[in-house]
């Protein structure tokens, strides 16, 4: 089969960070190609280059046999490449329909904006693909799942010959993932070439026919489904011995799993009593939520995204007041937000300064009104070392880190200050397998192990059922703003899964 797109020897520097060091990728028509690699391996960069979003420093790009220069996303589209971004590229204040109309080539680009025609096309496409979106809502009001669908529709609207998807599954519910994969298989069978990035190996193995693994900006493995398996892919990603030598990972991943409810009930560190919140329109987000968190327990809150998780997290983090009901919170709440750059890190601040954001709250790091930068810096260095945050120094701005490393920094910092209550919302979203395992191990070590009197209580809000099942000592399901407990005997994929999609609680 002819290569539909070929990238050879691609190099890309961001300042002094080398994101790609001669990576290769060959996509074939009618096949789904899984692109794998750890956080920061260069996947998004490579696919961004194919999508015309990033200009490579060197290397060649061929599309259907012809060498091309892709100066802009517009160039890439005219060549039939449609890119679905990892970080959504939507205009938040525009409606979905306006977003879908934006920059469309063809008849209506200049002059009157024919929204009706676009609407008809989108509706037809929605029907064909099963991707439904509310066309007249502003994107800012949408949940991440729906935004992801908008992104996919945006790419499909241009009938791409090559469809590139960067981590589309990270924000989708399992059932949605299945539907997406069906769609991709359909597209492939009609001749489209698909490239897909996802961190969950089983997902990629389930849908992809070809594989490319990137490590530190290089292509370290290529192969078809027949030639690879989970073990060989993982080894390629981590890099054999090299991975084993990395401190944080090997040491913590093998920690024993699971402790369970202590016999002696420990002190309550936080409680919500009959808490409700409203949105701007006056509709209820949370409806009469009650929750008690005790020291040393890890409360998992499962649910399909968009059921009130964000509001619950904000209330527990002390960022939002309930419109009704009472929230009793400790003075110090550690919070691992889902949105790292938006809520967790200041992009222009250095790693030390970002660590200081929470450290400065503790009196150990100040003398009167003066910050003890010496102590803060060495604490930050310790965190960076201990949690294996890969950065070229403690003084680089947080924006220069890959998403996974940004997440490590947030986790490290928050675990460091978690004394009474720790709240986490999708803490491993977008993390590679190893990083996710590492974050889990770190959380477990802090919350579930060690001296019972110094452990915080934790609320883990996650749309990832496996994550909840792996960590939680107690599970609740959130559905349409209501919390319902899950009996311990239902702590299984099927049991919780049924409740998540709206089955009655036991």
């Amino acid at each position: 089969m002819p290569a539909c797109a070929r990238l050879v020897g691609v190099e890309k520097w961001f300042g002094s960070v080398r994101a790609l060091a001669g990576a290769d990728l060959t996509l074939e028509a009618g096949r789904i190609h899984g692109v794998l690699g750890e956080n920061g391996a260069g996947k998004s960069t490579l696919l961004g280059i194919l999508g015309g979003l990033i200009a490579p420093d060197s290397g060649t790009i061929e599309i259907e046999g012809a060498a091309v220069r892709l100066g802009s996303p517009g160039d890439a589209w005219t060549r039939g490449v449609g890119l679905v971004h990892q970080h959504f590229a939507l205009v938040p204040t525009f409606t979905v329909l306006e977003n879908l109309s934006l920059g469309r080539r063809g008849g209506s680009r200049v002059g009157r904006l024919d929204l009706r025609r676009v609407r008809e096309r989108v509706q037809a496409l929605s029907e064909r693909t099963g991707l439904s979106v509310t066309l007249d809502a502003p994107v800012s009001s949408l949940g991440v799942g729906e935004r992801q669908r908008v992104e996919i529709l945006k790419a499909l609207l241009r009938d791409p010959k090559i469809l590139v998807l960067d981590e589309p599954t990270a924000v989708l519910a399992p059932s949605e993932v299945e539907r997406l994969f069906d769609l991709l298989r359909d597209l492939a069978s009609s001749g489209t070439s698909v490239a897909l990035v996802a961190h969950k190996l089983d997902e990629v193995l389930a849908v992809a026919q070809d594989f490319t693994v990137l490590r530190e900006g290089r292509t370290v493995l290529k192969g078809s489904r027949a030639e690879v398996d989970a073990v060989s892919l993982t080894r390629a990603m981590i890099g054999g011995d090299e991975g084993a030598a990395r401190p944080g990972i090997t040491r913590k991943v093998v920690q024993p799993v699971r402790t369970s409810g202590d016999a002696v009930p420990s002190e309550v560190v936080a409680s919500l009593v009959d808490v409700s919140t409203r949105d701007e329109a006056g509709g209820l987000f949370l409806r009469g939520v009650g929750l008690e968190v005790r020291r040393g327990e890890l409360v998992g809150i499962a649910g399909v995204g968009g059921n009130g998780q964000r509001e619950l997290a904000l209330i527990l983090a002390g960022r939002r007041r309930p419109d009704a009901g009472v929230a009793h919170l400790p003075d110090e709440v550690a919070f691992i937000p889902q949105d790292r750059i938006g809520q967790g890190l200041i992009a222009d601040f250095s790693l030390v300064e970002n660590a200081a954001l929470t450290l400065q709250r503790s009196s150990a790091f100040r003398t009167g009104p003066i910050l003890r930068w010496g102590a803060i810096r060495s604490a930050a260095r310790d965190l960076i070392r201990e949690y294996d945050v890969r950065a070229s120094g403690a003084s680089v701005p947080a924006r220069s880190l890959s998403g996974g490393n940004q997440q490590r920094l947030v986790v490290a910092r928050e675990l460091r200050v978690a004394r009474d209550l720790l709240v986490a919302e999708n803490p491993t979203r977008g993390l590679d397998v190893m990083s996710a395992a590492f974050v889990h191990a770190s959380i477990r070590a802090r919350v579930l192990e060690g001296d019972a009197a110094t452990r915080p209580g934790m609320v883990l809000i996650s749309t990832d059922l496996d994550e909840i099942l792996a960590l939680a000592t107690r599970i609740l399901v959130i559905s349409r703003g209501r919390l319902s407990p899950v009996a311990p005997d239902l702590h299984t994929r099927e049991g919780v899964g049924t409740l998540m999609v709206g089955g009655s609680s036991a």
Binding site: S72, P92, L102, G103, G111, K154, R399
Partner: protein, 309 residues
């Protein structure tokens, strides 16, 4: 009878004072919608006034002068765009410098052309056009519809720019560039080009505003005759919530506040005149507090793009 006369006088003055503000503010609305704040508007206005004056003198036609004034305003905006958009320098400071530069260079050119001590320059002026039926409406007719053509340009640009912004693909791309340039780029919009065009368009209209001052309003040119109108126009954009229709209304509101000041003085109210002079600004502040509320600026306004690493 007397009250009616005063009312007509007030309306006329409001329109006359509002028109140059409206022109500059409409241009700035487009510029800001694309994500660029051009504080150098004042420089474009004064350059437009001088360009218009020189053009009208050279060709003997006020109409040509208006066009050349527009070109001069656009040239000044071009300097701003080259630095703030092309190189990505800070927009506020670049705009401040461009204002200074515009005032300085027009002064230097004026003195080079008319001598160090200047001259009382008498320029050809735009004729008024009387709109047939409309100008006969009692009370409103002559203030609104017996005016120089630049006034009708404002009436026309309000709806045209509204349509252009909200009903065309260009407008959508422009607004996308101002709201989320990264997303716009990903969708294939050439953000820098769009912004540059928007800034040049803003300069063009500011230049026309300046030329209007010289060729339709006063019939002369004097150094610094723009007298801060560029800054007022920027306030007018906010007051008009970045919406062409409301911007015209806001400009006329400001024109009315200024007109009031002169009328009150003419009617001999014995209040310190500085209070009248401050009136338009105080009224605008009050209006901002009362009505703009949380109307939000384009999200990417004044942010250099692409983001520096």
């Amino acid at each position: 009878m007397f009250e009616a006369l005063a009312w007509v006088a007030f309306l006329e003055a409001s329109v006359r004072l509002g028109v140059p503000l409206a022109l500059a503010a409409l241009g700035e609305t487009i510029t800001e919608r694309s994500g660029v704040i051009n504080i150098g508007l004042e420089g474009s206005i004064i350059a437009g006034a001088l360009g218009g004056a020189l053009g009208a003198l050279a060709t003997g036609s006020a109409g040509t002068g208006i066009l050349l004034g527009g070109v001069a305003g656009m040239a000044v905006a071009g300097v701003f765009a080259a630095l703030a958009i092309g190189l990505g320098t800070d927009q506020i400071i670049t705009g401040t410098a461009v204002t200074l530069g515009g005032l300085g260079v027009t002064g230097a050119v004026y003195q080079a052309r008319f001598g160090v001590t200047g001259t009382a320059l008498s320029l050809p002026t735009l004729d008024r056009w009387s709109v047939p039926v409309l100008s006969d409406i009692p009370m409103l007719g002559s203030p609104l519809f017996d005016q120089p053509p630049t006034t009708y340009l404002v009436y026309a640009l309000g709806p045209i720019l509204w349509y252009w912004l909200f009903r065309t693909s260009w407008g959508l791309e422009l607004r996308a560039a101002g709201e989320a340039p990264d997303a716009a780029r990903a969708a294939g919009v050439r953000v820098l080009k769009v912004r540059a065009v928007a800034a040049l368009f803003g300069g063009l209209l500011a230049g026309v505003a300046g030329a209007h001052l010289a060729l339709a309003h006063t019939g002369t040119f004097a150094e610094n005759m723009s007298a801060g109108r560029g800054f007022i126009a920027i306030a007018v954009v906010v007051l008009g919530r970045w919406h062409p229709g409301w911007v015209v209304v806001a400009a006329m509101f400001f024109g009315a506040a200024s007109a009031l000041q002169f009328l009150l003085q003419a009617f001999g109210l014995d209040v310190p005149y500085q209070l009248f002079l401050a009136l338009p600004y105080v009224l605008t502040l009050a209006a901002l507090a009362g009505w703009v509320g949380r109307a939000t600026a384009p999200a990417a306004l004044a942010l250099p793009w692409p983001r520096r690493r």
